[in-house]
């Protein structure tokens, strides 16, 4: 592909998963000879396994204790990962760049106060004036600051406060689709000259009974012990294992990046999201259409990073489409080793793909039942995310050669 000034390039990567904090443990993961089973917490939310947050020294990215206290883990994780991305791009202390930087955050909602919720439902079991009880208890028990820790757009708000990113601040919602739209929107804004540099990403905390409860509404969550992604079946619950993930990217126009001498990990050639009914082969049709974005990629040099959630049916269907549309390409289901990061899933896939391309890495198989050894480093990467209930997205990245 020929280069142009308004190419969208990745210049900053901020990742936190169960594998650790920052680029290094993830480069190690992507270049290991063999992949060990990832860290899984199987006791705390038994029977639901989740990939836990690694140990994090919050003060590395959130200097003020007061700021840390104003947030719960979901916002902390996002603010932390955003700080990593800014640091990595060399923009953390560039006040001018941060003040003009656009921001799109893919967000869910923050943590419930489990103690207060428990107190209320327990008391309600003994009373028949539940709504009155609710007023009494919420008025006296809710912490005012917790509301702000729960508000979706306050992850972005806290990034503005902590890192001074204030060019613009937009929060997208809607599970995995939020992360897809965030990248897609930032991409088109930069391509068209509406933005020169953007911070894009999201965070998700899996270690939350309130979230596990939601997805268990459709029995989506795997139960028991961890299984490799492509081997999950209805014998072990729904197949999805969630993971605590923070993933942010700094995206820039090539002109902006080159003018400041920034390191370019990869170019985003294309990104698109779609949605619709998944009945009667329509999911496959949409994924095949999205795959056309990578029409010119040489399969032998293409790495497909699938963000499949593990949910049994859509994961199998996505696998079949990828095998059909990218025969001979190297497939890696990254969610199998990080857990499903929901809003952060798609940005995480781009972050991992950028590291793999930039480092000329030969990514080990995450599930040897399906994933073949990678013969040589790739020059293109395809990142997919199929939402566990809706929404699909695909991005094509190329090596900045």
């Amino acid at each position: 592909m020929s280069k142009s000034d308004n190419d969208v390039v990745i210049t900053g990567v901020g990742i936190v998963t169960c594998h650790g904090v920052g680029k290094e443990p993830h480069i190690a993961l992507l270049s290991a000879a063999d992949v060990e089973p990832p860290k899984v917490e199987t006791e705390r939310f038994k029977p639901y396994p989740v990939h836990p947050m690694p140990e994090i020294d919050w003060s590395q990215q959130i200097a003020k204790r007061g700021d840390q206290r104003q947030m719960e883990n979901w916002q902390r994780l996002g603010v932390f990962a955003a700080g990593l991305a800014l640091d990595d791009a060399g923009l953390k202390d560039n006040a001018e760049a941060c003040a003009t930087m656009d921001m799109i955050v893919a967000a869910g909602g923050g943590e419930r106060d489990i103690k207060v919720d428990s107190l209320i439902v327990d008391e309600a079991l003994k009373r028949n004036d539940r709504e009155t009880l609710l007023n009494e208890k919420l008025t006296t028990e809710l912490r005012p600051t917790l509301f702000l820790a729960q508000l979706s757009n306050l992850l972005a708000g806290n990034i503005s406060i902590v890192h001074k990113v204030t060019g613009s601040s937009r929060t997208f919602m809607g599970e995995e689709a939020a992360g897809i739209s965030a990248v897609e929107t930032a991409y088109h804004r930069i391509r068209s000259g509406q933005s020169t540099h953007s911070l894009v990403g999201g965070a998700f905390v899996a270690e939350r009974a309130d979230i596990i409860l939601l997805v268990e509404g459709i029995r989506a969550h795997a139960t028991g012990s961890w299984h490799p992604l492509w081997q999950r079946s209805a014998d072990n619950g729904g197949g999805m294992i969630m993971g605590s993930v923070g993933a942010f990217l700094v995206l820039e126009s090539r002109a902006n990046a080159e003018a400041r001498g920034a390191h370019i990990y990869a170019t985003i050639d294309a990104v698109e999201g779609d949605r619709g009914s998944r009945d009667d082969g329509k999911l496959e049709q949409r994924l095949e259409r999205l795959s056309m974005l990578a029409l010119d990629a040489d399969p032998a040099q293409t790495l497909v990073f699938s963000g499949a959630s593990g949910l049994v049916d859509p994961t199998a269907r996505e696998r079949d489409v990828i095998q059909k549309t990218f025969p001979g390409a190297t497939l890696r289901g990254y969610g199998g080793v990080t857990g499903h990061g929901m809003e952060a899933q798609f940005p995480l896939g781009l972050a991992l793909a950028a590291l793999a391309l930039d480092g000329d890495l030969r990514v080990p198989s995450f599930d040897s039942s399906l994933e073949q050894p990678m013969p040589a480093p790739a020059n293109r990467a395809v990142v997919t995310t199929v939402g566990y209930t809706r929404g699909e997205g695909l991005a094509v990245l190329s090596l900045n050669a």
Binding site: Q70, E131, L134, F147, N153, T166, R170, L213
Partner: protein, 428 residues
């Protein structure tokens, strides 16, 4: 590039508004809303949706006249959005699939308390303190409940709107708190300017008033406690204002490149001339005391519109009726408009409809366009005790017949969110 009648000062496509729909506590549809708004009618009332005894705020601008299959925030927000979108698309003269992207401002949602109580009723008894969610999970494993999930999926409103109206691609669901409606419009404008589409469907909806939502804002001291009489509580720019009145509503705008609108013979209702935004890093709920980000936002909107401040004939204020907002907004407008500000009419729709939160920016954009179309300025009601430190022509208490051709509409929200829109009657 095409005919320069259709491009703006930067050579970008000019964006026309060709369809509008609105619901507030004043009623359904633009016609009814406008009649009420220009007659100085308040939609604020005592809350009947849930008991309010013991609460310091017992009033709101809830929308209680749209039927929903189940009472929850997603069902209400969807139903409002469905109605306003049908209205806007009909006005735009479009039929069949919309065939453009959807940008939806929607409230963050959580399970209703009734759903938690229902789970508790079918869950095993408590073993240790604080184990409600373990018990909920046991109950959910025994009997899954897809409706429970769907009622808290942030993507479930746009899903249904997309299917119903045939929008294209992956819809964006967004929240920038009380600026959400304006941000949705901005995204719709940007998509057309990018050349990705000829038209965008912009929807903003909020049906999220519940006991917990009310109490949360109460605990932040954001709400008016002047409960009696309800219709007098919201008094933007008054000396005795004491908070906003929480409310519901929705609005839809069909945005279209002027070229596309003219080509298909659509009636152009107004022009979305410019959008501006700037985030604030001062505090989670308070704005920078110097108003810097709000000032930058207004200036950015004017610059994007290719206009200077002298062109603005009317301001549709954010005007929440909180002590802080109205003071900060006044200071910011004063910094931009200077001496001339006192001669520019500035009114707050929130004096009548309350603060429709996620929907506000779009609801007020619809009213801004209607202000220009009808040559009538809606009043700021309950303006009997002016704040002496805020010297504004708020169009006090009575509508005014006055033709304006360019309007500024402001939206500011928690989390440092600021967005402003500039709308004009004509393209040039």
């Amino acid at each position: 590039m095409s005919d320069n009648r259709f491009t703006d000062h930067l050579g970008r496509p000019i964006i026309a508004v060709t369809g509008m729909g609105v619901i507030t506590s004043l009623g359904q549809g633009l016609q009814d809303n406008w009649a009420a708004l220009t007659s100085g009618t308040s939609g604020i009332h005592k809350i009947t949706r849930f008991p309010t005894e013991g609460l310091s705020t017992r009033i709101s601008g809830t929308v209680d006249f749209i039927d929903v299959p189940v009472e929850n925030a997603v069902e209400r927000s969807y139903a409002f959005a469905r109605e306003t979108t049908a209205e806007a698309i009909a006005q735009a003269g479009l039929s069949g699939d919309f065939e453009g992207p959807l940008f939806l401002a929607a409230p963050p949602v959580e399970p209703e308390w009734s759903a938690r109580f229902a789970l508790a009723d079918r869950a095993p008894p408590s073993q240790v303190e604080g184990d409600a969610y373990d018990r909920f999970l046991t109950a959910m494993r025994q009997r899954p409940d897809p409706a429970f999930l769907e009622a808290v999926q942030f993507g479930s409103i746009s899903e249904r709107l997309s299917d119903r109206f045939g929008t294209r691609g992956l819809p964006v669901t967004l929240s920038t708190a009380c600026a959400s409606g304006a941000t949705a419009i901005q995204l719709g404008v940007e998509a057309i300017r990018q050349g990705r589409t000829d038209r965008s469907l912009v929807v903003a909806t909020d049906g999220s008033v519940s006991a917990e939502a009310l109490i949360r804002f109460s605990l932040l001291s954001a709400l008016s406690t002047q409960n009696d009489p309800p219709e007098k509580a919201s008094k933007p720019f008054s000396k005795d204002r004491d908070g906003f009145v929480i409310a519901e509503g929705a609005a839809t705008l069909v945005l279209e490149s002027l070229e596309s609108a003219v080509a298909r013979g659509a009636k152009v209702l107004g022009i979305l001339k410019g959008c501006g935004e700037k985030a604030d890093h001062f505090h989670r709920t308070r704005s920078s005391p110097d108003g810097g980000p709000a000032i930058a936002t207004i200036r950015a909107a004017l610059e994007d519109a290719g206009m200077d401040e002298t062109a603005i004939g009317y301001i549709n204020a954010h005007g929440t009726s909180t002590p802080e907002n109205d003071k900060m907004e006044y200071g910011s407008m004063l910094a931009v408009f200077g001496e001339r500000l006192k001669d520019i009419p500035v009114s707050s729709n929130k004096s009548m409809i309350g603060h429709t939160l996620t929907a506000a920016g779009a609801v007020e954009a619809v009213f801004s366009i209607q202000t220009m179309l009808t040559g009538t300025l809606p009043p700021t009601i309950n303006y009997v005790n002016p704040d002496p430190t805020i010297v504004l022509d708020v169009v006090p208490n009575q509508k005014r017949d006055q033709q304006v051709r360019a309007v500024l509409s402001n939206s500011f929200g928690f989390g440092g969110q600021n967005a402003s829109l500039v709308m004009t009657l004509e393209p040039a």
